[in-house]
Amino acid sequence: MTISPQMSWKSASSLEDISLDPATLGYFHGLAQSEAHAIVLSLFQSLSGDKKITRAFIARRLDKSPEQVTRWLSAPGNWTLDTLTNLLLAMGHRPKFSVEKLSDIRQSNYHHHAVSMNLTDALNLTVTPKSDDSYALSTRMEDGPIRVNKVEYRI
């Protein structure tokens, strides 16, 4: 089965009783890594202003090399919960978790001017195929079942 990136989000948020496809799982695993990294790096940036918290300081606190700390801060790379906890702890913090329902996440109306917007996503519209097929029946020119085409609007 071919699944588009956008279908992946919809299938994850729909709560259908079907297995999640590998691409969807890969996407959300990457998202979790990326968010954990962003939290740590943002904290480091805000605390390093007074020069007390540095990479060398964290390295000493965790008994690791400064190069390892640089690698952790520079990109999310296969972090574990232990990595996250250690880095936050070294800066005097601890992780605190929260969850968010996917279907509650709404499209933002803040876009770069070059963005070609998908109207249905931007307005949170759901366009359903027309269920009344009497018009199609009156004009059909071929035998066989009438296909109900999905409608997609773009601007």
């Binding site: 695993h29 801060l73 520079s74 933002s108 803040y110």
Partner: protein, 175 residues
Amino acid sequence: MSSFDLISATNGTRVHQWIPVRPGPHTRVVYLEDALYGEITLGTDHRIGGLWQDLDNFSLGELITVGYGPEATCMMKNLDPRTDEVWEIRSKDPKPQIRIFGRFCAQDVFVATHATYRDHLGNPWESKFEGNHWPQEILRCRQIWEQLCQGAAPHNGRSINDYISANVVEVGKLA
């Protein structure tokens, strides 16, 4: 015509704008060259999901780390020679690692020309005759760019914020 105008005009044919998977503020833009777009959007495996997330991370204005030259770890890198204005998005997880090459055509607008597995690139410290394939990929990026932009120069800047306006950290400047 600027490279930005040319790229915008060919959206939907020679390039395709990446529509982020998850909702959010679409504050940066990635255009993918037609063949690359096909490869990325038709994939269905765990690895491709990680790549979608990396493209979303850029497009949705999330925190990006940028490096230059010998800085080994970062999410995006301006490759040497920097005057070529060739960048790579580094998609590191899950393995195998993928590198997406491209250039900026405006501030916050990245044009991805092609991609390759990191393992195919060899050792960057070797010469191009001994298994360093980065110069080859930089040349390929420039060639694809030439086809897309017909001689128009890529966007260039003096500081990182000329390329990425906000939420960016230069790895070399970490305290």
